[in-house]
């Protein structure tokens, strides 16, 4: 058994150092230590850097007044911000570089080492501490009076519970808002941003419409939240190009299909539609969906197809939703199928 194997890992402390401590490097004098002329030059350089800092501050103040912010003139704002930024940067860097240059060239640079203090207190101090604790225990009766001690333990155990329970009130509950959108049976498909309803006859083959539900623009509250869930991409393809699942065959109208625009990966708007490949590309992480095949994922990190909005036309020829989406839109979450 070799010497090393006698010890369990980490237990051995007195191995000889494999590399000797070389100690401190011999001190080498700088040019500024050797020559007064160099020292004076360094002094001037430091002063020059501090002077640049002053100039920087003046440039920043000049930039503030020379380019007043005028409503509508973004170029003036940009120029003002540019010169103030340059000035403030010069001002700060001048002080910083000056201080470092000063320390490096003129302040003493001889290395010294100091040993650490011993962490252990003296035996006398330690004995005194034990004595104080024992005295306090005796006087308070902490060990002697069991009832007090145990009831205090109980109080301390129960005390944090309200703090934990309070977390239940942080923010409004999400409830089932993730599972529903504004779409209802008969809601008309309208153009984003005007809210003009769309007739099926207007959607020619190869067309893409960016769609919001009717009434979204009139919402007083949570308009953006509703838009973020209900945004739809409407496309008409040649009906013979569609590979329709018989169970969802009634969801499209004469080659017109509507899909949620919110990516099922992390919720970016998926709207890069290629007319001939029928690919829908998400610009964030390159998830690609095959629009002709119920938006099946053909590439990228998304794990489920974009939800399809079942559509039809009403008596006046406008496109309407048959119902809400039948599954949650946007990024998947753990209890989404419940």
């Amino acid at each position: 058994m070799s010497e090393l194997e006698q010890y369990s890992a980490g237990s051995r402390t007195n191995i000889e150092r494999p590399i000797k401590d070389p100690g401190l490097e011999p001190h080498r004098e700088r040019m500024t230590d050797k020559s007064e002329r160099h020292a004076r030059n360094a002094e001037r350089q430091v002063a020059l850097l501090f002077g640049l800092s002053v100039i920087g501050a003046i440039i920043a103040v000049w930039g503030f007044f020379a380019f007043p912010i005028v409503g509508g003139d973004l170029t003036a704002t940009r120029n003002g911000a540019f010169w103030m930024g340059i000035g403030i940067a010069l001002s700060l860097l001048g002080i910083g570089f000056g201080a470092v240059h000063w320390a490096k060239t003129l302040m003493p640079d001889a290395e010294v080492s100091e040993d650490r203090h011993v962490a252990r207190s003296s035996d006398e101090t330690r004995a005194k501490a034990v004595e104080i604790i024992k005295l306090a225990d005796g006087e308070s009766g902490f060990t002697r009076r069991k009832l007090i001690r145990r009831s205090l333990y109980g109080a301390l155990a129960f005390f944090p519970i309200p703090a934990v329970i309070i977390f239940g009130d942080l923010g409004p509950s999400v409830g089932d808002t993730l599972k529903h959108t504004m779409w209802r049976s008969g809601t008309r498909l309208t153009k984003d941003p005007t809210g003009i309803p769309i007739k099926a006859s207007e959607v020619t083959i190869g067309s893409v419409f960016h769609v919001i539900p009717e009434g979204l623009s009139e919402l007083e509250h949570h308009k953006l939240e509703e838009k973020a869930k209900a945004a739809v991409l409407l496309v008409r393809v040649n009906p013979s190009d569609l590979k329709e699942d018989p169970a969802k065959a009634g969801w499209s109208y004469d080659g017109i299909v509507a899909y949620s625009k919110i990516c099922t990966h992390v919720g970016c708007p998926v709207a890069l539609y290629e007319q001939h490949t029928h690919h829908l590309l998400c610009p964030c992480h390159q998830s690609t969906f095959d629009l002709a095949d119920h938006c099946k994922v053909v590439f990228g990190p998304a794990s489920r197809p974009l939800p399809q909005l079942p559509i039809t036309v009403d008596a006046e020829g406008y496109l309407v939703a048959q119902s809400d989406f039948l599954e949650p839109v946007g990024p998947s979450f753990w209890d989404m199928r419940k």
Partner: protein, 262 residues
């Protein structure tokens, strides 16, 4: 005097009505014919122009698009694509295509304006389709704010918020719109070239399209208020710039801080 009283004025004569009706018919019918002739010249061109276009088509396009524009191996049917499509594809040099691939590139234009107009007239004569837009709608005096909003909703996801272009799937890309003429932008919207979808007049009205073109020309002609644009392609270029110059500067300072003075 008596003689004059007995004589009926010319306009009361029975045949006068016939003359008035005849003149009226000539004026309205002739005017209508003249007016419609004007429109047709704009849309489809004269018979000679169409014939000229047919010859150019047979010599340059028929191999892929079929001798009657019905489509063949390698080229789609051109029936119903309209004059605007020809003007865009040939006028930007994308057609005649150089090589098959994920996408056809813009390249030096191969034909004169007259030749392009002749081919456009020929293709437009095959079946009705989108016409070349009028000068009126191509003036960039629309509303750039409204155009910018429409551009961000309908176009920016592929072409970038200021039209710098972007990548699509499998080697395809949305080209940069910088320097593209007003006419070609308009024609691209109404015809949907290659993998671009179509934006018909029900989706974006001609006024909307004019606003979008106004917006694009505005961003093309005005400096970016954010300073150095770095190609306007967003976080990749900006991040790289910060990595190289920002981090490089910090590393240089760190090395200087750690180095001993001479």
């Amino acid at each position: 005097m008596e003689k004059n009283l007995n004589k009926k004025p010319m306009r009361r004569r029975p045949w006068a009505l016939g003359v008035v009706i005849f003149l009226g018919l000539i004026a309205s019918g002739g005017g209508y014919a003249f007016a419609t002739q004007g429109v047709q010249t704009n849309v489809t061109g004269s018979a000679e122009q169409i014939e000229e276009g047919r010859k150019l088509f047979l010599a340059n396009c028929a191999t892929c698009h079929g001798s009657n524009g019905e489509g063949a191996i390698g080229g789609p049917s051109l029936i119903g694509v309209g004059a605007a499509s020809v003007d865009f594809q040939v006028g930007t040099g994308r057609m005649p295509g150089q090589a098959s691939g994920p996408q056809l590139y813009k390249k030096p234009v191969q034909f004169t304006e007259e030749q392009i107009a002749a081919m456009a007239s020929y293709v437009a004569s095959l079946a009705p389709g989108p016409a070349i837009p009028s000068e009126e709608i191509l003036r960039t005096d629309g509303d750039p704010t409204h155009g910018g909003e429409l551009f961000r909703i309908n176009c920016a996801m592929c072409h970038n918020a200021v039209g710098a272009g972007g990548a699509l799937t499998e080697g395809k890309f949305a080209p940069s719109l910088d320097g593209v003429t007003e006419k070609h932008i308009y024609e691209a919207m109404i015809t949907g070239p290659q993998n671009m979808p179509v934006f018909n007049d029900a989706n974006l009205t001609p006024e909307d399209k004019k606003d979008i073109i106004t917006y694009l020309k505005y961003v093309e002609q005005n400096d970016s208020v954010g300073g150095l644009e770095l190609g306007s392609i967003g976080p990749v270029a900006e991040g790289l710039f910060t990595w190289i110059f920002g981090l490089g500067f910090i590393i240089a300072i760190t090395v200087w801080l750690g180095a001993k003075a001479n």
